[in-house]
């Protein structure tokens, strides 16, 4: 399950990055950047 959830985090993080480049509104992009911090940290097994 650990690996499955890692893949889920990876899949979602990639989509967040894609969305970050698709979205035009500044504050929405800031929101994505804030959410991404957590996904990166979990993806790299730091937190």
């Amino acid at each position: 399950m650990f690996i499955v959830y890692h893949l889920i985090v990876f899949y979602l993080a990639s989509h967040f990055i894609w969305y970050l480049f698709r979205e035009n509104e500044f504050w929405k992009r800031v929101s994505v950047a804030l959410v991404l911090i957590m996904f990166f940290l979990r993806l790299f097994l730091i937190k």
Binding site: M1, V4, Y5, I8, V9, Y11, L12, H15, F16, W18, Y19, R22, E23, W27, K28, V30, S31, V32, L34, V35, I37, M38, L41, R42, K47
Partner: protein, 422 residues
């Protein structure tokens, strides 16, 4: 700098950013947490801010994956087909329809203990049916939000009680009956209150006109497969542990979404995921912000100050404190409210039957999911019915929510009496 001053400063910063400068709520929360950290002498405390947001990491995964699943259901035509099926079965019986709808909405909440899951799974299924039968968009939203909260409180799984029980070392045993006493009257009254006047009995011909297109003839039984698998797995992990594997709610939703690709109208899963992320982003960022906000409140002592202040109310005011603080703190999250306030409140009433006390407190804490800015149940119910302003949905939740509060408080006050009866 006193804890109270830091807390007020954080709230003021949040209000300024969100209401005057009109920044998104999530971003405002992040900046007000940062401001609180600076004022509390902790510096920018980056690792604390990040750590706080992790309190909601699992919730965020559930929300995104549930949203993906919902979008898949919509785009593959599964949602339309199920709606058509339900409409055909219920279009003539008003009370039966309302009670069944209520039970359907509550069901995933009862099994998973999460109101969000309830709103986003069966809530999304019944919404079009109710609206087609004449219930307004906002009232449908309110019914789903309330149903989800009642489902969260109802047995067999009430995570709020488990969290409180964990804090006082009380096993999760013997809660079915007390929880049913609270939930059943609420479920019946809420569904009838919100729906009885507006739902219209319609003729077969009228019904056929509002019936969405069923894709059953094109794809057959496999259309229902994603739903059956998702509901089966959600149920199975609690009802048949060990036999049905517990793969966790996010994995269940993603599995359902994956199956959805092959079971209905063709869809592009990547684009569907993007749509889901776009819709859920505001709430994701709110959760990140709330997490940071609480971490800084705890770090600077503001959380402790608030909890202690509520607890030091005299006995009569203690009940008032419970009735106000637990739903209010639920704005953070109902689970947070159960843990941070619920546990001390149970201990403050240690002379009463803890099973009854914690059941009642869970009903009160559950209302927190209606409390803005997070208002998880309200926000998602609004999204499910396509209402942009979730406050309009919350307005119709007010009466049923007050009724829930009254019942919760009544059970709390009359706990010694009930204790003798059951």
């Amino acid at each position: 700098m006193s804890e109270a001053a830091i807390f007020l400063f954080m709230i003021a910063t949040f209000a300024l950013l969100a209401m005057v400068l009109k920044l998104p709520i999530g971003v405002s929360l992040v900046f007000s947490a940062l401001a609180g950290s600076l004022l509390g002498g902790e510096g920018a405390a980056l690792h604390h801010l990040v750590e706080g947001s992790f309190g909601y990491f699992d919730t965020i995964l559930i929300i995104v994956t549930a949203m993906i699943f919902m979008k898949v259901l919509q785009e593959s035509g599964i949602l339309d087909t199920v709606t058509a099926l339900l409409l055909k079965s219920f279009y003539r019986r008003k009370v039966a329809l309302l009670l069944t709808v209520m039970a359907l909405v509550m069901f995933p909440g009862m099994i998973t203990g999460s109101s969000t899951t309830a709103v986003l799974s069966t809530g999304a299924l019944v919404a079009p049916v109710l609206m087609k039968m004449g219930l307004s968009r906002v009232k449908t939203g309110a019914l789903i939000a309330m149903g989800a909260i009642l489902g969260m409180i109802a047995p067999p799984v009430n995570i709020l009680v488990m969290i409180m029980g964990g804090g006082v070392d009380m096993p999760y045993v013997g809660f079915t009956f007390p929880l049913l006493i609270i939930v059943i009257p609420l479920a019946v009254s809420t569904s009838l209150w919100l729906g009885y006047k507006n739902i219209k009995i319609i003729e077969y011909n009228q019904m056929k006109e509002v019936l969405p297109e069923s894709f059953f003839k094109n794809y057959g039984f496999r259309l229902y497969l994603p739903l059956i698998i998702v509901i089966g797995l959600l149920l199975g992990q609690s009802l048949m542990p060990g036999i049905i594997p517990d793969i966790g709610i996010p994995a269940i939703f993603l599995l359902g979404s994956f199956l959805g690709i092959f079971c209905g109208k063709p869809l592009n899963i990547l684009k569907t995921t993007q749509k889901a992320i776009e819709e859920s982003m505001p709430i994701l960022c709110i959760l990140v912000g709330v997490g940071m906000f609480i971490q800084i409140m705890t770090l600077t002592g503001a959380r402790g100050w608030i909890v202690t202040s509520f607890l030091s109310f005299p006995p009569l005011l203690l009940y008032l404190g419970i009735a106000t603080s637990m739903p209010l703190f639920g704005a953070v999250s109902a689970f947070g409210s159960a843990s941070i306030l619920g546990v001390p409140f149970i201990l403050a009433m240690i002379d009463k039957n803890a099973i009854l006390t914690s059941s009642a407190l869970s009903a009160v804490a559950g209302l927190g999911d209606l409390m803005p800015p997070t208002a998880l149940a309200g926000i998602f119910a609004a999204q499910v019915v396509g209402e942009a302003n979730y406050f309009r949905v919350l307005r119709f939740c007010l009466m049923p929510a007050l009724f829930e509060l009254v019942i919760g408080m009544a059970v709390l006050l009359f706990a010694p009496l009930l204790d003798k009866l059951i």
